[in-house]
């Protein structure tokens, strides 16, 4: 193995090293100073993020078990950025009394899930995909149950874990059928792609497999775990789940659809179109009624996934670009929103929408950040979400699926309604006892600044989109 090969796997390798280093450091420092490890973790993550953006080449390693190229590298870079932001936002929470002796475990689990996601995206074989998926799931379930003295946290953990197990069971069952129906008996992506035909067994296997990803992206009707888990899990885990985990799964979904299963386009275009409509609609309908902001953001992220799917449905280069672009924006927007919720929850333990009444008066910057993030999620300019959504819609328009396009745009309007509810609470509703002014710590502030900057810049800086377009593929 050459150094250049290692460089191709830099994300995974560095993350593994970081995880081990953290474990080692944990052993060496005395318990009182273990808090500091969070700084170390952030530092590692920052380095990895920077390295992740370094130019790279395409390559295939381990006899095609592992593959990478420009867009895969970019996807990983997006995941890195998101994770970095999540880590920044976690510091306050990690330093709380209950958690401070679990800092390194937290970091290691986060890193290992990120490794799993990276492998998942980079996989060249369904086995690698499966392992990546599991690695990206099982530790997160544990993270969801991180606050073990809280019933809700445990509940979130078990719901996630068991349903994930069921889902991966279904996925694997599908893969076994795929295996059977792939002449040649090879589950390397390239081999499957070469052998794929829309036969009954192959299609069934494919759809079972798809359901596993759908579960991970929380597409309706495989989304039911999402809200409960987000609500019960620690906020930063929810944000990690809603952004990074979802993004990773969406990326691999696009990759397999556009490469391995491209000959099944007829099947998945229709299936995904239906799922996209369901996801947007159901996500919106549930989000309307939510009072708990975490739960609210959960449904909102479900709906967002529905929009995301449009890019996949289109099957075009524009579609893939839009997915990456949208995800990049979504990382900042959703983490911006989650960051604010997290800051307030850390400070006051309040997550109800009514608690936000009159927030603008007492905490203007937080409110503005929240508003900007929500506008970005809703697709309102000048927030970047506008661009992201518009390009996604554009990919569908390019594909000529106008009915779907109209349903999607109408759903975008419905989503605006509930985003505005939060804005209303913060800016319009008067409250006698708004949450008092407070300063969140510098990590959190830094993360929010990053998010706001991202939201404001990504849309207008067309170079981002254009360069993504340059490396994307279509059917």
């Amino acid at each position: 193995m050459m150094w250049s090969d290692v460089f191709l796997m830099r994300n995974e390798v560095l993350l593994t090293i970081a995880a081990f280093l953290i474990l080692c450091v944990e052993l060496m420092v005395e318990p009182a100073r273990r808090q500091r490890i969070s700084t170390l973790g952030i530092l590692f993550m920052a380095v990895i993020t920077v390295v992740g953006f370094m130019p790279t080449q395409s390559g295939v390693l381990f006899g095609a078990m592992y593959q990478t190229n420009d867009y895969i590298a970019l996807m990983k870079a997006i995941l890195n950025v998101g994770t970095l932001v999540v880590l920044l936002q976690s510091v306050t929470w990690l330093h709380k009394e209950n958690n401070q002796d679990k800092v390194s475990e937290y970091l290691v689990l986060i890193f290992s899930t990120l490794i799993g996601m990276d492998f998942m995206i980079s996989s060249g074989h369904f086995l690698m995909f499966t392992l990546g998926l599991e690695l990206a799931t099982i530790p997160i379930a544990a993270l969801a149950a991180f606050q073990k003295y809280e019933a809700r946290s445990s509940e979130a953990g078990i719901k996630m874990l068991l349903l994930a197990a069921l889902s991966s069971g279904v996925t694997l069952f599908g893969l076994s059928f795929l295996y059977a129906a792939t002449p040649g008996g090879s589950l390397y992506f390239a081999d499957v792609q070469a052998a794929a035909q829309p036969s009954t067994m192959f299609t069934l296997g494919f759809l079972f497999f798809l359901s596993g990803l759908a579960f991970k992206i929380s597409l309706v009707p495989f989304h039911l775990w999402t809200a409960d888990v987000y609500e019960g899990a620690p906020i930063n885990i929810s944000s990690y789940l809603s952004v990074i985990s979802k993004a990773a799964a969406s990326f691999i979904l696009v990759i397999v659809l556009f490469t391995v299963f491209r000959s099944l386009q007829m099947v998945w275009t229709n299936a995904l179109a239906v799922i996209a409509v369901l996801t947007m609609t159901i996500g919106n309908l549930f989000a309307i009624r939510q009072q708990n902001l975490k739960r609210f953001l959960a449904f909102s992220s479900i709906a967002q996934a529905g929009f995301l799917l449009l890019g996949a449905v289109s099957g075009s280069q524009l579609g893939m670009t839009s997915i990456m672009y949208f995800m990049l924006i979504y990382v900042f927007s959703n983490l911006g929103a989650f960051g604010v919720v997290s800051a307030i929850s850390n400070q006051y333990g309040k997550e109800h929408i009514d608690d936000y009444n009159g927030l603008y008066r007492s905490n203007p910057m937080l409110s503005l950040t929240m508003m900007l993030s929500l506008f970005s999620l809703a697709g309102i300019p000048p927030a970047a979400g506008f661009f992201g959504k518009l390009f996604l819609f554009g990919s569908i328009a390019q594909h000529g699926m106008y009915t779907l396009l109209i349903i999607a745009t109408v759903n975008a309007t419905i989503s605006l309604y509930y985003y505005l509810l939060v804005v209303k609470a913060m800016f319009i509703v008067k409250s006698d006892t708004p949450l008092a002014h407070f300063r969140s710590d510098n990590w959190m502030r830094a993360s929010l600044v990053v998010c706001v900057a991202g939201i404001l810049v990504i849309g207008f800086a067309s170079v981002i989109f254009d360069s993504m377009f340059g490396i994307s593929i279509g059917l």
Binding site: K159, P221, L224, L285
Partner: protein
């Protein structure tokens, strides 16, 4: 000669309006009055000069008096030929109207300086008066239909503003509103008529439209609608506009109420000038009516005839002196309309046309005089009601005398002006339409009757308690008010001798008018009968009128109540339009249209609420949904592949 100065006839009042309107509040009240009057005086002089040079100083070509446009500029362009121009067109009727308007307006201005003295809105009054003069002058010199429509609207506005001059008086406010809306309704017809006419001719220009050799008249449009040609419909609709402005039945209801305005205003706008705009409009388009749409002209004739009778009957029963005059105005305008309606085009045939214009001219003089006289009376007794008057001849000698002259004029007693013009109308009617002649003949008698009823009730028929509520002994008005009375009295007495048949004719060419002595004497006779009847009944206060009224109770009550037309209007507007259309529309909008929109939101919420249990929190339910969905996906795959 160069007529470019004539533009100033129109512009001067406008300038006066701007000055008094914008700065009126900051100057001494009398100054604004003087500005208005001075500008009007100059305009008067200019129009007299214009008229002199147009009628008498210029040589008349073979085509008669040619129309002259010293200025005409495009104001708004719709297309190549369709454009609204603003300009001045001088032809016999417009020049005549210039004279009428500036004369009466000047008199009214002068009169108002006295009449309005001490009113808080003095400057405003003069501003509006100037605005009105401007608009009315602009209307008569219009070179095209649309210019006319524009100024038509503006006179409506000034009328609105002046009727509602005492804006803190609810009745005045209501009257002004009514006047505006009713005329607006009529203007709808006018506008539609213009649109229709412009559609068939492709132009608004009067000269093109009314050219007897032009395409509209020589090639009548073949397009028919409900059995009438488009041209007929168009000019009928235009007549609707004229009828509204000229208070023809059934659009007359605003006119009596309009008497809420200050009396000089009634004299100027609602007697002499604005209300004859409808007549002027028909006259303006007369070639079209006469040559291309004779059936429309029939309508004009009958509406005019009926209105004149209708109004005359009502006038006999009214007790508010201004209302009597208002109905009288309506009746007289009916005369003019009728005259137009029974007229033909060209030469002798156009006698009705000439008579109509002649009557317009004379009527302006004596009706303005009547109103100003009435104003003088009201000024003296502070009441409009006949019961508060009587025997005023002693106190108001000048007013009395001038009023008498006017009454004689309107009753068609020679040698006063009305005699000549009315006689021509009767002749025209007699020649062309016997039934209408009969009506008009009766109306002539009625006119004399109610005018002298009015005259006697004001100046004679002393009753001992008639001045009880007066604050002081009535006294004659100041010179500034009586001077116009005298001037107009002289005019009323003399203008009948003007050779109208040589000047203002349907084809702009003079013709030889013949005096029909038989008809003339008959008309004088009926006038005298009317006067005598009035003298018998009203010279002294007696119970005779009451007894007669008792005798024809139904008719009297109906006439007194103005034949319930107002009630019908109220019913139509309140019940049918407001409550029958508007309220349902408002309800529909709030509940159905908006309800649908809200309903969509409600539905979304309801669905959201209904499906909440999908998220039951039960892990195994989630698992079930997951599995079922996977299976459904699988099954659908089968369907897709097959």
């Amino acid at each position: 000669m160069d007529y470019s100065l004539s533009v100033w006839i129109i512009l001067l009042p406008f300038l006066a309006f701007l000055i008094t309107g914008l700065a009126g509040g900051r100057m001494k009240a009398i100054v604004s009055g003087i500005i208005g009057t001075a500008s009007m005086a100059i305009a008067f002089v200019l129009s007299i000069m214009t008229a002199w040079s147009y009628f008498f100083a210029s040589t008349q070509g073979a085509e008669g008096f040619a129309a002259i446009s010293p200025i005409n500029m495009v104001w708004l362009r719709f297309g190549d030929t369709l454009h609204i121009d603003l300009g001045v067109m001088l032809d016999p009727i417009s020049v005549m109207m210039l004279v009428v308007i500036t004369t009466v307006s000047l008199m009214v201005h002068i009169y108002s300086i006295g009449y309005m003295q001490g009113e808080s809105g003095f400057a405003r009054f003069f501003a509006c008066l100037s605005l009105f003069s401007f608009s009315m002058l602009g209307l008569v010199v219009a070179t095209n239909l649309f210019q006319m429509y524009m100024f038509w609207e503006l006179v409506g506005l000034s009328s609105y503003l002046l009727i509602g001059f005492y804006y803190d008086r609810p009745s005045a406010v209501a009257a002004s509103k009514k006047a505006f809306i009713v005329t607006r309704f009529a203007d709808l017809g006018f506008l539609l008529g213009i649109l229709l006419l412009s559609f068939t001719t492709g132009t608004f220009d009067f000269q093109t439209i009314t050219n007897p050799a032009g395409p509209l008249i020589t090639q009548p449009s073949s397009a028919m609608f409900m059995g009438a040609s488009l041209t007929t419909i168009a000019v009928t609709l235009i007549f609707m506009g004229g009828a509204g402005k000229s208070a023809m039945f059934p659009l007359h209801i605003w006119l009596p109420d309009a008497m809420e305005g200050p009396t000089p205003v009634s004299a100027l706008i609602h007697a002499a000038t604005m209300v004859v705009a409808g007549v002027y409009l028909v006259a303006r388009l007369f070639p079209v009516y006469a040559l291309a749409a004779p059936s429309a002209l029939q309508i004009v004739a009958w509406v005019g005839g009926f209105s004149s009778l209708f109004a005359a009957v009502i006038a006999c029963t009214q007790t508010d002196i201004k209302r009597v005059l208002a109905y009288s105005t309506m009746s007289q305008i009916g005369y003019m309309m009728l005259a137009l309606g029974v007229s033909g085009y060209g030469g002798e045939n156009g006698l009705g046309y000439m008579a109509s214009m002649f009557h317009l001219f004379t009527h302006a003089m004596f009706k303005a005089l009547l109103f100003l006289g009435a104003g003088s009376v009201i000024h003296a007794v502070h009441s409009n009601e006949m019961k508060d008057m009587g025997g005023l001849r002693k106190f108001l000698p000048i007013t009395h005398l001038t009023f008498l002259i006017a009454c004689l004029a309107i009753s068609g007693i020679p040698p006063f002006a009305g005699f000549f013009s009315k006689d021509e109308i009767l002749v025209a009617a007699f020649q062309h339409n016997m039934p209408l002649f009969v009506i008009e003949y009766i109306v002539a008698g009625l006119t004399a009757f109610y005018m002298f009823r009015l005259y006697y009730r004001i100046f004679w028929s002393d009753s001992e308690h008639s001045h009880d509520n007066a604050h002081h002994t009535p006294h004659e008005s100041p010179l500034v008010m009586t001077l116009p009375l005298m001037f107009l009295a002289v005019a009323s007495a003399t203008v009948g001798f003007l050779p109208f048949h040589e000047l203002v004719t349907s084809d702009h060419k003079g013709f030889e008018a013949v005096m029909h002595w038989d008809l003339a004497s008959a008309s004088v006779l009926i006038g005298v009968v009317g006067i005598v009847a009035a003298t018998v009944m009203y010279r002294r206060s007696s119970t005779l009128p009451d007894r007669i009224a008792e005798g024809m109770k139904a008719l009297y009550t109906a006439a007194y109540r103005k034949f319930y037309i107002d009630e019908i209007y109220v019913f139509v507007t309140k019940r049918i339009i407001f409550n029958g259309i508007s309220a349902p529309v408002a309800w529909f909008d709030r509940h159905i249209v908006d309800g649908t929109m809200n309903g969509i939101a409600w539905l979304t919420n309801a669905v959201s609420y209904r499906i909440r249990n999908l998220q039951s929190g039960q892990l195994q339910w989630y698992a079930f949904v997951l599995v079922i969905s996977v299976i459904a996906l699988g099954v659908s795959a089968f369907c897709m592949i097959r």
